[in-house]
């Protein structure tokens, strides 16, 4: 297929305003009469609130309102489990839990008021480790939650015990993944302003404008239609920016004071009370035939939910069974416990549990290959899913270039030559490791009522097109991808197409940015809207210019009639058409509802319209005296269905690889007795530009052309990270023979491994 707009390196359309600092994010907003909100957070991981005295704080000049648990409704709500209240009046459950909130005319007044709120705490026994929290004697966070278990997930297909008994190779191991922080550039932020008709407008830094509207209406006990959400530019999310307590507190304070209220986390509170990654302890048992055929997989996961439920239960279930559709399994069993602890509530982080399980599964396969002399490339090609395959959970793999991804990565990295190289004589050893991945592009069970998207594309009388979507660009370049899709489908130049900021008063409902669904599902709705617009445009062209539709071609903003030498521009034509229609714009409307289903009680059913795949190969060097591992080169090959924008794909892959490398090689939220010890970028060590591979990150995109995606496109956001920790762990093992099973792979762990070898 030949495309005018797709497959090129198109800079994001809002790039200039972002790099010049003109782009406005929520913290930049200034609304007339705006108050500054601040939150008082608990200094204890678990404590009863005996008394919260605001009398001194109220006397500070500029303080307009202070709310505590006693002053607000105690009804329960929450994204998955109703264990949220606006502010608690009984107890706090983590170091950083919200105790009170202040609105004042300046940040200084708000801060001073916070320091004068007197809270009498009765410190309660606390529990921090999910496994210990399940013990009989552990203190309970919620009286009604036995053993602190928030949710349990269980699935069993085939007969795992029988398959394991019949396996020539049986391998069993426990892996641990730690808690890490998404480290988006813009911290959690909201501005809430009371408006006309008793409505409330909220400018949010969010991935889910439409869904948060529903949830916040529930929290505020108002009709969702009375809440208007606007999502301007967003400085990254990576999964963290879903429903958030501070947003709700801003709304409550705005409604009580009648004034706009700004609530923006400082970096420390964003660390202490954001939505970091769900830590997991993963026990895995695999059964294989002697030739490497996978026969059975048995897993048990204990996942940390933190002190209240955000999305950890869904993340645990994803860890339990999504990877079962990467390989042709016939027998699988998985149990996952999501457990309350007196720690920061955990939630989505690029990979959504699948990344955690990829570390376990892909590390395990590597060890098996080493122990039984199997080829780590061939075992993946032999067991990996193929086009047309329906997985054990009923997931329909339509497009799949997994095998080709492996071939390409092997070829580009010179895998087999590198494997043959003799070990270095110096203390610094080189190693190479492989891991593959799958993911979804949309996840039917995430929002129970439906999955799908709708879009509008409006062609203005000036010949410019505007895409309206409820899906959220949070910096990943989705708005540019949508513009490219619309331009391609209509026949416009992308320079004349833009995507509007999400405003729930104007934009269609969109579930938002998660499950790597934006390009595939949102993009398909945009495609349908553009096709619909083109149909209308052709009809009007035929009418106004007295042609037959078959005589008309539209390409790159030019309209060609087959009986006319020179084309006319779309701009000129649409102006003419618009004058015959009372000056209106043409509006294309598109809907995409994928043929996915809610899984049945045994978790059977196709959840996503398309499944992306990839293969990563990491090359590292490990200093055997200092224990430090460094990336040398990295090859990432992804089946993206179709390349919409090569530049943003590369950006996603390079970002995903470095985010995964940061996690694998050092990022860690160090918590002692429930208190985070490194809540800043000084002590929480993200990789810097200097920590990127000494060589480079090579990215390649294979186009399998998915029947559901727009022009065949599938997602990239999460698959770019999923295999990274395992690929690096496997490369470290190849370099020095040390298998690190609990992330991160620190110098200490490598040295310990070398010492005990």
């Amino acid at each position: 297929m030949k495309f005018s707009n797709l497959g090129k390196e198109t800079p994001i359309l809002d790039g200039l305003e972002k790099v010049t600092g003109r782009a406005r994010y929520v913290p930049d907003l200034k609304v007339e009469g705006m108050l500054h909100g601040r939150i008082l957070r608990s200094p204890y991981p678990h404590a009863r609130l005996k008394k919260v005295d605001i009398s001194k704080a109220e006397r500070i000049s500029g303080v307009r309102d202070i709310i505590t648990g006693k002053k607000v409704s105690q009804h329960k709500f929450g994204p998955m489990v109703p264990d949220w209240v606006i502010l608690p009046d009984d107890k706090v459950r983590f170091h950083g839990d919200e105790v009170a909130a202040v609105a004042a005319t300046s940040e200084e007044s708000a801060a001073e008021a916070l320091s004068l709120i007197e809270v009498e705490y009765e410190v309660l026994p606390a529990v921090f480790d999910p496994e210990l929290a399940m013990a009989e004697e552990a203190p309970l966070l919620y009286e009604e939650k036995e053993n602190n278990i928030a949710t349990t997930f269980y699935v069993h297909k085939g007969d795992v015990d029988k398959a394991l008994a019949g396996s020539e190779i049986v391998f069993e191991e426990t892996y641990q993944t730690n808690q890490v922080y998404q480290a988006y550039m813009e911290t959690m932020a909201a501005v809430a302003a009371p408006g006309d008709y008793e409505r409330l407008t909220m400018w949010l830094s969010t991935q889910i404008p439409s869904m948060s509207r529903l949830r916040y209406a529930e929290a505020l006990e108002i009709c969702a239609e009375d809440l208007r959400i606007i999502k301007p530019h967003v400085g990254g999310g990576f999964g963290a920016k879903f429903e958030y307590k501070a947003h709700i507190l801003a709304a409550v304070l705005a409604r009580r004071t009648g004034s706009p209220v700004r609530m923006v986390n400082n970096r420390e509170e964003d660390f202490r009370a954001g939505n970091p990654r769900v830590p997991m302890k993963i026990w895995i048992k695999l059964g294989l035939a002697k030739d490497g055929t996978l026969l059975a997989k048995d897993t048990r996961i204990i996942a940390g939910n933190g002190a209240r439920t955000v999305y950890a239960p869904a993340i645990t279930s994803t860890a339990c069974y999504r990877i079962d559709s990467l390989y042709k399994f016939k027998n699988v069993r998985s149990t996952g416990y999501t457990v309350y602890t007196n720690t920061i509530p955990t939630s989505c982080f690029r990979g959504f549990g699948n990344a955690q399980m990829h570390f376990a599964m892909e590390s395990a396969l590597d060890t098996i290959c080493h122990q039984y002399n199997l080829d780590p490339i061939k075992i993946r090609q032999q067991n990996g899913v193929t086009p047309g395959f329906t997985s054990i959970h009923g997931w329909e793999i339509k497009s799949c270039a997994l095998k080709e991804c492996l071939d390409k990565a092997v070829e580009e990295s010179n895998w087999y030559d590198k494997k043959k190289e003799p070990a270095e004589k110096s203390p610094v050893k080189k190693g190479i490791g492989v891991a593959i991945c799958n993911h979804v592009s949309g996840n039917r069970p995430f929002f129970k009522p439906f999955d799908g998207s709708s879009a509008l594309v409006r062609l203005t009388p000036e010949g410019k097109a505007i895409v309206f979507t409820g899906e959220a660009d949070i910096g990943q370049g989705m708005n540019t991808a949508f513009a490219l899709i619309a331009a391609e489908a209509v026949g416009l130049d992308v320079k004349n197409v833009r995507t509007a900021a999400v405003d729930t008063d104007i934009s269609p409902f969109g579930l938002g940015s998660f499950a790597t669904r934006g390009t595939t599902i949102g993009g398909r709705a945009v495609y349908e809207a553009a096709v619909n617009l083109k149909k209308q445009l052709l009809e009007h062209l035929a009418r106004v210019y007295e042609k037959k539709i078959e005589q008309i071609t539209i390409n790159e903003g030019q309209i060609y009639f087959d009986d006319q030498e020179d084309p006319i521009t779309v701009a000129k034509a649409i102006q003419t058409i618009s004058y015959t229609l009372g000056g209106t714009s043409l509006v294309g409307h598109g809907v995409f509802v994928p043929e996915t289903v809610l899984p049945d009680e045994n978790k059977y059913g196709n959840v996503s319209p398309a499944y992306p795949f990839g293969c990563h190969i990491a090359e590292v060097e490990v200093d055997t005296e200092t224990g430090r591992a460094r990336l040398l080169n990295y090859w990432a090959v992804h089946d993206v269905g179709r390349v919409i924008n090569k530049q943003t794909l590369e950006g996603q892959v390079e970002g995903g690889v470095m985010m995964g490398a940061g996690w694998a090689l050092g990022e860690d939220m160090v918590v002692k007795e429930g208190k985070l010890l490194n809540p800043n970028f000084h002590d929480y060590c993200l990789p810097t530009a200097m920590d990127t591979p000494r060589g480079r990150i090579y990215s390649y995109f294979l186009e399998s052309g998915d029947p559901n995606g727009p022009f065949g496109a599938k997602g990239i956001g999460e698959p770019s990270l999923n295999p990274v920790p395992a690929a690096i762990a496997n490369a470290v093992f190849d370099a020095v023979g040390v298998r690190v099973k609990n992330l991160p792979i620190t110098p200490e762990k490598i040295l310990e491994g070398l010492a005990s070898a």
Binding site: E625, T626, R628, G666, V670, L677, N678, H682, D683, C685, L686, P687, T688, A689, M690, D691, P747, E748, L751
Partner: protein
């Protein structure tokens, strides 16, 4: 902001006059990269700040016939880019290069790094290895002392920035056989405090590998930048060969008393200081880090 006035004197004399006049209610500020961060969590209790960034003499790197002088408000970037120091102060150049990120190095000064008195301040470690002296001006006049004597504890310097002004650091121009180098390990390649760091200065007998003299400064191995004198003693007058280098690595691991922190356990730091000493000695032996004019530029 707590202060009422912000002064930018043009001479050291004016700066001292201001300090005397404010009677302890003013303090010196240089790059502010530490001070402003500290101020945010623990507000400064002063009426005035005296910014020494406009005093020309304090921004100079120069040499006379015997010593090299580095002005107190010389930035880390100036050190990194100094042709003189690249030739005659390698340990300091290498140390300054590892501090923070370019933005911090462009603003943060060597004087600030020393007065801030962190046990692993990179340039403080380098200056300690060079046996540098610190030149101080107060209302009572000018005096100098060894840099190492200014460190009293973590974040505690004997220099009182409400009474005294550091004007410069100085050390002897390296002679024949003298070499120096700097090494550190950190959690990442840039913008990180060191897990361990080490400044090494040594002087070899001409034409062989016998160590005439050596200074080893390390951090964060104590509450202040630490001279590993036991290990130095072990190496003085000895032929530097592989076996001696191994022994030196073990010796310094035993000598230091670091603390556990989330940047690394005490045991890990002990082990690592041995590794970087070993590697620094090896590189000195290979002729890297040569300081004096014998080194080809």
């Amino acid at each position: 902001m707590t202060w009422e006035n912000y002064y930018m004197p043009l001479t050291t004399g004016e700066a001292i006059e201001l300090l005397v006049e404010k009677q302890g209610k003013a303090r010196i500020i240089a790059g502010g990269t530490d001070l402003m961060v500290q101020h945010r969590s623990d507000p400064l209790n002063v009426r005035a700040l005296i910014d020494i960034g406009r005093i020309p003499g304090l921004k100079e790197i120069r040499e006379d016939s015997r010593r090299i002088y580095i002005g107190a408000s010389v930035t880390h970037s100036q050190i990194v880019n100094s042709a003189l120091l690249k030739k005659k102060g390698r340990v300091l150049v290498e140390a300054a290069r590892t501090v923070g990120a370019p933005q911090i190095r462009n603003v943060g000064t060597v004087g600030g790094n020393v007065v801030n008195a962190q046990p692993a301040a990179d340039t403080a470690i380098a200056l300690t290895a060079l046996d540098a002296r610190i030149h101080i001006l107060s209302g009572d006049g000018e005096f100098e002392k060894p840099v190492i004597d200014t460190f009293l504890g973590p974040g505690k310097s004997c220099i009182d920035p409400s009474k005294e002004l550091v004007t410069a650091f100085s050390y002897s121009i390296p002679g024949p056989g003298e070499r120096s180098c700097f090494a550190r390990l950190a959690r990442r390649e840039s913008l990180a405090l060191p897990i361990v760091n080490l400044g090494l200065w040594l002087c070899l007998e001409e034409d062989d590998h016998i160590l005439k003299d050596i200074r080893i400064a390390v951090g964060p191995m104590s509450t202040v930048p630490f001279r590993a004198r036991e290990t130095e003693a072990l190496l003085k007058g000895v032929l530097l060969d592989k076996a001696v280098i191994e022994k030196a690595g073990r010796s310094i691991s035993d000598e230091v008393t670091p603390r556990d922190s989330f940047r690394g356990s005490a045991d890990f730091k002990k082990q690592m200081i041995g590794v970087i000493l070993k590697r620094s000695l090896e590189s000195a032996l290979e002729g890297k880090g040569v300081d004096s004019d014998e080194r080809e530029q």
